[in-house]
Symmetry: D2
Subunit: 386 residues, 4 copies
């Protein structure tokens, strides 16, 4: 696949994700942490326009002069930004205009990509990886929006597929010792995966599979949400302040049965499926209750190179106990694009693996996703360590 082909494939996939949605669905913002789908469509386009066309296109003219501010997410080096919590108020530009914006930028990018240029190619690849990250956010943000609606509408009409029996949880042991983590090279990685460097690990074991809804239900039934001894102090404060008693989208119905809001609407809880939409606090308390702990990101990455572990990718992001921090010798890119990762390296925790909403080919063993400890609207689950 040429880069141009890849460009069209990725960009097309973003638009395909919006197919089941009305323009009204695409405009709403359910909370400050989430963005409207329309905003994702525009912002990913803005990324190409601002970081590539503005630099490489002869006689560059912006598609619309106001978009530079409207669709800037957090790049202070680019200038002003529309306030994040007010993205849902941008009923103009309309979806029609945003689609035209995408087509315009796509056409200009296609012209540019006709000429090979190593630096351009690197930025386009980054732009496509960036767009793939937003593809996952489109899914999780729309899910959060629809979940707020008392009608509990489905995102997709496709019928859900029941999870296979999870099987017994086994423990796989690893020797640890002096080893290496970080991207080993070969293709693309984000700056936060570099440099590859040595770490020393004590011997450890990881669970062969993720914790299931059934596993987590046992924790709930055992009073997990009522016992402060299991919780980080900050997590316990959150449990009480927010009244948490189950994962984000679960509900105990009047008949005592548990349901979960899914992309297929509200459904009977699938006990074999990996538990999702739990915060780090919940993951940690569950691990504590199991007499286990969460893995470090290094333990996870080193184990990923070895056989035997299931559900490493595609089954759910896996909380680690590792705070999101720069690797020794980390160097962000110069200029505004250097704001991509480094400035978020505080009070966030690393998640490893990938979820069902992660685009194919996007994740890898060295990939570092990150969210605050309280975040629950992502597809975040639990792999135990000890």
């Amino acid at each position: 696949m040429t880069l141009l082909e890849r460009y069209h494939a990725v960009r097309g996939h973003t638009v395909a994700l919006t197919q089941p949605l009305s323009d009204e669905d695409c405009g709403a913002q359910s909370m400050p942490d989430a963005s409207p789908v329309k905003w994702h469509l525009a912002h990913t386009t803005w990324f190409f326009e601002t970081f590539i066309l503005e630099r490489f296109e002869a006689g560059f003219q912006p598609f619309h002069p106001a978009f530079r501010v409207l669709f800037n997410s957090y790049y202070n080096g680019v200038g002003d930004k529309h306030p994040r919590p007010q993205r849902g108020l941008l009923t103009r530009p309309s979806m029609t205009e945003v689609r035209a914006y995408r087509q315009n930028v796509d056409a200009r990018m296609a012209r540019l990509l006709a000429q090979p240029d190593a630096e351009l190619d690197g930025l386009v690849t980054l732009g496509l990886q960036h767009e793939q990250q937003h593809q996952e956010l489109i899914v999780t943000d729309v899910k959060h929006l629809l979940a707020q609606n008392p009608l509990q509408p489905a995102y997709t009409e496709r019928p859900p597929v029941a999870a296979e029996p999870a099987g017994a949880l086994e423990w796989l042991a690893f020797d640890g010792g002096l080893t290496e983590i970080g991207y080993p090279g070969g293709d693309f990685c984000f700056d936060n995966e570099l440099p590859r460097h040595r770490v020393h690990l004590a011997p450890y074991a990881l669970a062969s599979r993720l914790a299931t809804n059934g596993d987590y239900l046992a924790f709930i039934d055992a009073g997990g949400y009522a016992d402060p001894a299991l919780w980080l102090a900050e997590g316990w404060d959150k449990v009480r302040a927010e009244g948490w008693s189950h994962p984000l989208y679960w509900r105990r119905e009047d008949d005592g049965q548990w349901t979960e809001f899914t992309l297929h609407g509200r459904r009977r809880l699938d006990l074999n499926a990996p538990v999702a939409h739990v915060s780090l606090y919940e993951a940690d308390a569950y691990a504590h209750w199991c007499g286990a702990r969460l893995p470090t990101e290094a333990e996870w990455e080193v184990a990923a190179a070895q056989p035997g572990l299931r559900q490493m990718f595609g089954a759910g992001w896996q909380w680690t106990s590792s705070s999101y921090a720069p690797y020794p010798g980390f160097k962000p890119a110069p200029g505004a694009i250097g704001e991509y990762n480094g400035k978020f390296m505080v009070n966030q925790y690393v998640l490893r693996g990938s979820s069902a909403a992660t685009p194919d080919g996007h994740a890898r063993a060295s990939y570092r996703n990150f969210f605050p400890a309280h975040a629950r609207w992502q597809l975040t689950g639990i792999r135990l360590a000890r």
Copy 2:
């Protein structure tokens, strides 16, 4: 005009107000105090379905069982309500479905209105008056939404009309004495206008016209927003906490000129037009600075029966110093519909007159509009008294 003709006229006008708006525009909610246009369209329909069809229609079936909750504004007697700040998250039902809801209810109402029934007629009249109130809210809520958009889009493509020269402000004197206020009877009024009752007024004078933007600009230029001696204590706290230095939609541009966001987009400030979008706090401070005061609602209503005052209706709602309270002997209607007015009679202030957004024939001399002292997104202006 028959009641059915009136029904169609009012209902049709609501829909006509949405003509310049996209479905995206109709779904967004710019703040908890405002509602999406789509919600207004559905709620006014819900009013007819819940308070009339449910009672008078044989074999009543709701259009959609969830709408009873989704589009209940504040009637505890009807049951649960969707939380007000989350009205903007209801991307479903779509505008298309809400339009179908309106058509369905309109057809059923037309059948019902074929049979004369005095009680039914009274409720339909109330429903139409209620809908007219929401017509004004549609305009002010959309204005607020569009004002948040950095693109500052216009609601209407019609060109604005410049205000005529305001002319000198004159004082008209009134004798006061023992007099009466409240609806004198004849046609329709809301329960809060009754009973008509005696009040005693000291002699007073009212300004012949509303304060203009030019008048108010003089207050600003004289440092009105910087002098606590002019302000109610609560108003001064607000000025400092919110950084108020001008009416809601004004802006001083880089060239020093003042502009105002209007339904025609952002425009050069029209110095002859009545000042609008000021809170009671600002109205009171301005009056204080003029060596005057705000009228009481009784002073306003008594004066309205006499010749000589201009801009009593259609030029802007006029803050009074009267707290919104029940008239002596006030009786709300029994049942849920009695929640219409009475339960709001605390910490609100009465506004008299009407604005350019008030539907024709809706207001009258005894009409009591009311908003909290800090509200600024309505078309609220100032008539001085002394």
Copy 3:
């Protein structure tokens, strides 16, 4: 009694109120609405120093240059103010220093009062009335502070006196008609009681006595706090947001008995005593439940001139439905002292009568106390009207 004698009597009474309290008790502030006792002691002294000594004393020197700011409550005309919520952080000056401040100002005031001067006398009288208002606040603020303490300490060691049987509630009817309210002259009044002016009242009736704890308990037992139909909308929001289910200091003990925190510590609820520490919202809901309403301030004042009503003074402040507003022709004093009353005339409701904490001789029939509708830490009770 000469003015100087009155001065010493009032000032001495303030100090006497602090006798049961430690210096630690006097320094704490239990909420932004309440002030530390030490602050009350200093502020009332500041009033004499700032508004009287500074103007009348030859060669005036402030006792401490920082006190002008530290102990200014809300007089913008005097200049800066220490932020109200941080009054409890002023561990310096110490109580010892504040006592010295009082003695110093008292000595200087005594010298000044040796010379008769009408204007001076008027201001001293105002200062003493002001100090009496703070005497009541000292009691209610200390009560609130001690109530927060799990030890539930008593303010006074004197044993409580049980209320006499309340007797049946009777309705006294009044004709209304054209009448007058406002201070009729003779001695001292606050500016907000003037000018005396005519009002017209419809015929009405007032309850012969205040609602008792027993009366109010019946409202609770009947589910009063669970029925939105009884409440003003804003009151109902408060009930749910704050979880109100009884007056401020009541508690239902494990044995099902009700207790109330009092100045004598926590005590079994006295069913004959007037209910206290209810908000306007609760007073209004209770009245609604009784098929009655709250009186207007004019109704209360006119009735106070007639025989037959009990507990008009000394038994509890009585909420009225009257918003605190200027009387027709109201004129505040010029200068900073004019901030005393007028600037609070918004979003507050008038209370009439007086409480057990009101100093002897302070209140009168035309007296207008005022608090926001949600306030509960004052000795606020209920007299019904209809």
Copy 4:
């Protein structure tokens, strides 16, 4: 020194710290993060009573039954806790009673310590180390309280000592490699310093001394607080939301000179002294501006074993980039006392070294202090790494 002698020495030092303070000073709480001195005095005593006397004393009776709840800080295993933000409202028990509480517990502890018992000795040592931690908090909490007072009172009458010239900052290089951190054994350590374990470090360098006020002033003068490119995103949000433009207690006076609030009152800024009262955000931005970074806790600890670094102890706590996390194999103690450290291991950052307020002999190379990234009221400073 016997354990009993050590007990008396440490307990006596706590009381000595309160010598310059009035009872009023000891009762106030300046913010939820800080506690009143009186509360510290009582809580440290509660620790001995609850974890030692209750278990080891024959016929144990609590000094006061309510103190178990009142002075419990955060031990859920012990039961209920008085809410932290309301510690300043506990005017009872008085300082006199709390002093009696200390003497009572001291006498009982002395009787107990007459009998040697290894388990008891371990708990007493922990209790004394705990008390030393609170000694530092007494100083920083009182400093914060006095800093809020416009009178800017001094804690101590002793004159301040000017810092010696800081000298040029030099870089000391370390090889890294496979090494060990964690308490090596010998005497006492907290559970969070264990187990000692291997880590691999890349080569690195540390600054020979801490950043001075003069160094930091250059960062301010260069516009450090105005350039988002230097800041972590969360730090920049804080800078703007809180209006930060200098360390917590600095102030630029009208004459342009900088002062700092100190235990000696407000003083001219000492340019040679280590900068203190900066958040992790500020430390990180300063390091960024210097082209450097903050050390990890492992880099700091390994370097501490080597010669050449100055101001490692006693000059200020030193922010590291290490999130506070369990060491591999970390095991908290069983029961309530296991809540001491482990449950705080999220969203906190490790500080190394010690400050002028740290009691002699309390800190060591493996000691792990920790605070949230935004905390500024501790004596927190900056050592650069690269």
